[in-house]
C-alpha cells in the first residue's frame, strides 16, 4: 500500500470550518472519527463524525491544545463505532497544504500510540488552512512516525481537492494543452490533471470519455471492463478495428492503445483493468480513484458503484441512454439520455429511478441474459439499441457533469440529475429526491464497512477464459505476430521521420 488520501463530505467540512476558524483569529482544535477505505494501492481515511470539545477539553491560547481527557473521550467514541481517531487543528493564516510546526508534530506524535492502542487504527492528523479552506493530512504509525497523504478531498456540489505538492506536484503544462488551459486557467488544469479517473465500462460511451479525459491532460486515467471487442461493437467503438476483433482483443486493450495516442500529459499514467467492478478485486481497484465515470448499464456493477459513492466518498458520474424504437422495426419513437453525479447529498441510483435493486440478483445469476428465463418472466432483456451518433451525446453529458464537478463554471458545481429528450429537444432537471430510508445514503462514510455488493462474477470469468482460448488459435497467433511486426515498423518509421527532421 503506497498511496494515502483522505475524504470528507462538504457537510463535515463546513462543520469543521465553523469550529476551527474562529472570529478572534486564534487557532483551534477538535477531534473526528474516520473509517479506512482500503483500495488496491491506496488507503483513504473517510471522515465520519466530528467530536467537538466540551468545556475545558481544549485550551485556546493563540495556539490551541488538546487535553488528555478529550483525547481519551474521542478515542473511546471512535473505538465504539469501529473507527479511528483524527486530530484536527487550524492555521488561520495558512493556505493550501500545510506542514507541521514543531508543537503540532509533538502534540500529534505524543498521542499516536495511545490512539492506536484504543482504536486499533492509526491516529491521523489534519491541518486546515484558514485562507483557502485547504486541508492537509498525515497518518501516524504507532511508533510515532508521520506518513503524509497525497491529497484531501471534500465531496459536495464540487469536488475540492487539496494536493500535497511534494508527492503530487502540479504537472507541467504542455503546448498541446494550450487551448484547454485557456478555457479554465492553470489552477483548474492542475487540479483536473492530478485527479485519478476511473472509467468503468469501455463501450462506446466509456471509450469516448476516457479518450477525452486523457486528451484534456488528465495524467491518471484507467478503464475497467472484462469484455472483448466483437463485430457488433464496431459501429460504436470509434477507433476499434476489424483487426481488434480478429485478434480477440479486449475492450480495455483497445482503449489503452487509443488513450495513449490521445493523451497530452507529459508522463501519462494510463491503465487497463480487465476485470469487473462486481468482484472484490475490481472494487478494490476502484477505490484507488478520485472520480469514477460509470458507463455500464447492468444493474450489478451500477449497484456496486452506487455503494462506494456513499460509503467511500468517491463521486460516481453515471448516465446512459434509452432508445425507443417502434415495435415493427421501422423508425425511432424517441431517445432519452440522462446523467447525474451520485454522491452524498444527491439521490442514489436507486432513489433516482436508475437502478432497480431487485435486478441485481438476476444480473448476478446471469438470468438477464437467459432468453428462456426472460420469456417465462415476460420481460425484455437488456436493451440492444445503440447508435454511435447518439452515444456521443451521452459522453458529452457525462463529461459536462465531470467539468461542473471539478471546475465549477460560474462557481456552481454539478447540477444534479439531468435528462435530455430527443424527440422534444428538451433538457430538464430530473426531480428526484433521496428516499428517507435510503440504504446507501445511510451508510455515508462507512468505508470498509460498506454494503457487500461484490461476489464471483461468472460471466466475467467465462468471457476471459473464452478469450484466452480464442487467442491460442494458430490463425489468431499468426495474425497477432504480423500485427506486432507492423507496429514495430510503424515505430521505426516514426523514429526515422523524427531523426530526419520531418
Amino acid at each position: 500500500m503506497s498511496r494515502r488520501s483522505a475524504a470528507m463530505t462538504a457537510d463535515i467540512d463546513a462543520q469543521l470550518q465553523t469550529h476551527l476558524l474562529r472570529d478572534d483569529g486564534d487557532e483551534d482544535v477538535c477531534l473526528a472519527t474516520y473509517r479506512p477505505s482500503t483500495g488496491s494501492d491506496r488507503t483513504s481515511a473517510v471522515l465520519r463524525r466530528v467530536i467537538l470539545p466540551r468545556d475545558g477539553e481544549r485550551l485556546v491560547h493563540g495556539n490551541a491544545s488538546f487535553t488528555g481527557d478529550y483525547l481519551l473521550r474521542g478515542a473511546a467514541e471512535a473505538a465504539a463505532d469501529g473507527c479511528g481517531l483524527a486530530m484536527l487543528h487550524s492555521h488561520p493564516g495558512g493556505r493550501g497544504w500545510q506542514s507541521m510546526s514543531g508543537p503540532d508534530h509533538d502534540a500529534e506524535q505524543s498521542y499516536a500510540r495511545l490512539a492506536h492502542t484504543i482504536t486499533g487504527k492509526p491516529l491521523i492528523g489534519f491541518t486546515l488552512g484558514g485562507r483557502d479552506g485547504g486541508w492537509s493530512m498525515r497518518n501516524w504509525t504507532p511508533e510515532g512516525r508521520p506518513e503524509w497523504a497525497e491529497s484531501v478531498r471534500v465531496v459536495g456540489d464540487c469536488l475540492r481537492v487539496t494536493w500535497n505538492d511534494r508527492l503530487c506536484p502540479p504537472p507541467q503544462l504542455q503546448k498541446t494543452q494550450d487551448r484547454t488551459v485557456s478555457a479554465w486557467g492553470e489552477r483548474i488544469q492542475a487540479d483536473l490533471a492530478r485527479l485519478w479517473f476511473l472509467v468503468v465500462g469501455a463501450g462506446s460511451v466509456g471509450l469516448d470519455v476516457a479518450l477525452r479525459l486523457a486528451a484534456s491532460g488528465v495524467r491518471h486515467v484507467a478503464v475497467m471492463d472484462f469484455d472483448g471487442v466483437y463485430v457488433v461493437n464496431l459501429d460504436r467503438l470509434i477507433g476499434a478495428t476489424r483487426l481488434d476483433v480478429l485478434l480477440c482483443r479486449s475492450k480495455v486493450e483497445v482503449a489503452l492503445r487509443l488513450m495513449r495516442a490521445a493523451a497530452t500529459a507529459a508522463s501519462p499514467d494510463l491503465q487497463s483493468l480487465e476485470m469487473s467492478v462486481c468482484t472484490s478485486e475490481g472494487l478494490a481497484a476502484a477505490l484507488d480513484y478520485d472520480v469514477i465515470v460509470s458507463c455500464v448499464d447492468r444493474p450489478w456493477p451500477r449497484a456496486a458503484l452506487n455503494g462506494i459513492a456513499y460509503a467511500d466518498l468517491i463521486p460516481v458520474v453515471d448516465g446512459g441512454i434509452g432508445i425507443d424504437a417502434f415495435d415493427d422495426g421501422d423508425g425511432m419513437r424517441n431517445a432519452t439520455w440522462r446523467s447525474h453525479v451520485v454522491r452524498p447529498g444527491r439521490p442514489c441510483l436507486s432513489c433516482n429511478g436508475q437502478l432497480d435493486l431487485g435486478d441485481v440478483q438476476l444480473d448476478k445469476q446471469g438470468l438477464l441474459d437467459d432468453p428462456r428465463y426472460l420469456a417465462a418472466a415476460g420481460r425484455n432483456g437488456q436493451a440492444r439499441q445503440n447508435v454511435a451518433a447518439l452515444s456521443a451525446s451521452v459522453s458529452a453529458s457525462l463529461l459536462a457533469q465531470v467539468v461542473s464537478l471539478v471546475a465549477a463554471p460560474g462557481g456552481r458545481g454539478e447540477p444534479g440529475p439531468l435528462r435530455y429528450t430527443l424527440s422534444a429537444h428538451w433538457l430538464e432537471h430530473v426531480d428526484a429526491t433521496t428516499r428517507e430510508g435510503c440504504a446507501f445514503e445511510h451508510v455515508t462514510a462507512a468505508g470498509d464497512r460498506r454494503h457487500t455488493l461484490t461476489g464471483p462474477h461468472a460471466a466475467a470469468t467465462e468471457t476471459a477464459a473464452a478469450r484466452a482460448v480464442a487467442r491460442r488459435q494458430l490463425r489468431v497467433r499468426a495474425a497477432a505476430a504480423l500485427a506486432r511486426l507492423s507496429d514495430r515498423l510503424a515505430t521505426a518509421a516514426r523514429a526515422f521521420a523524427t531523426f530526419g527532421g520531418l
Binding site: 469501529g82 438476476l362 435510503c438 440504504a439 462507512a446
Partner: protein, 125 residues
C-alpha cells in the same frame, strides 16, 4: 450514519427475521421461516417459506430473487424450478419492487413474501 456491515449477509437476514419475531432455521443451504398471509386463499395459515443462503451474500443492499416454497403451495406460473431447493420444495421467480429504503429490511422481505402468497393456493405436491 449507520454501518452497512453490522449484520451483513445471511447472519443479518437471520437477525432481522428474529427481530420480526420469527424463528428462522438454516438447513441444506436454505433459510426457512414461517409466514402468515393476511389475504387470499391462505390467509391466516402459516406457510413455510425459504431463501437460498447463496442469495443472501449481498443482503440487505440487494434482496434475494427466488422465493422457496413447499411444492404443495401453488402460484401463478412463471419461472419455477428446484435448483438449490430443499427436497419437496420449489423456488418461484418473484421480483421485489422498490427495494432499498426500509428501516428493517427483513420486514420488507416478509411483506414481499406475504404479498406473493396472497395469490397462492394449497394443492397437491
Amino acid at each position: 450514519m449507520d454501518d452497512a456491515a453490522a449484520e451483513p449477509g445471511v447472519e443479518g437476514f437471520l437477525a432481522g427475521l428474529r427481530r420480526c419475531g420469527l424463528d428462522p432455521v438454516t438447513k441444506s443451504g436454505v433459510v426457512t421461516f414461517d409466514v402468515t398471509p393476511c389475504h387470499g386463499a391462505l390467509a391466516g395459515q402459516r406457510v413455510q417459506s425459504g431463501v437460498a443462503v447463496a442469495e443472501l451474500a449481498m443482503w440487505p443492499a440487494a434482496p434475494p430473487h427466488w422465493i422457496h416454497l413447499p411444492a404443495v403451495i401453488h402460484l401463478s406460473p412463471t419461472n419455477i424450478n428446484t435448483e438449490e431447493t430443499l427436497a419437496g420444495w420449489v423456488r418461484h421467480s418473484r421480483q421485489v419492487t422498490g427495494w432499498g429504503d426500509a428501516a428493517e429490511p427483513a420486514q420488507a422481505w416478509l411483506a414481499h413474501v406475504r404479498s406473493v402468497l396472497e395469490s397462492a393456493v394449497r394443492g397437491a405436491a
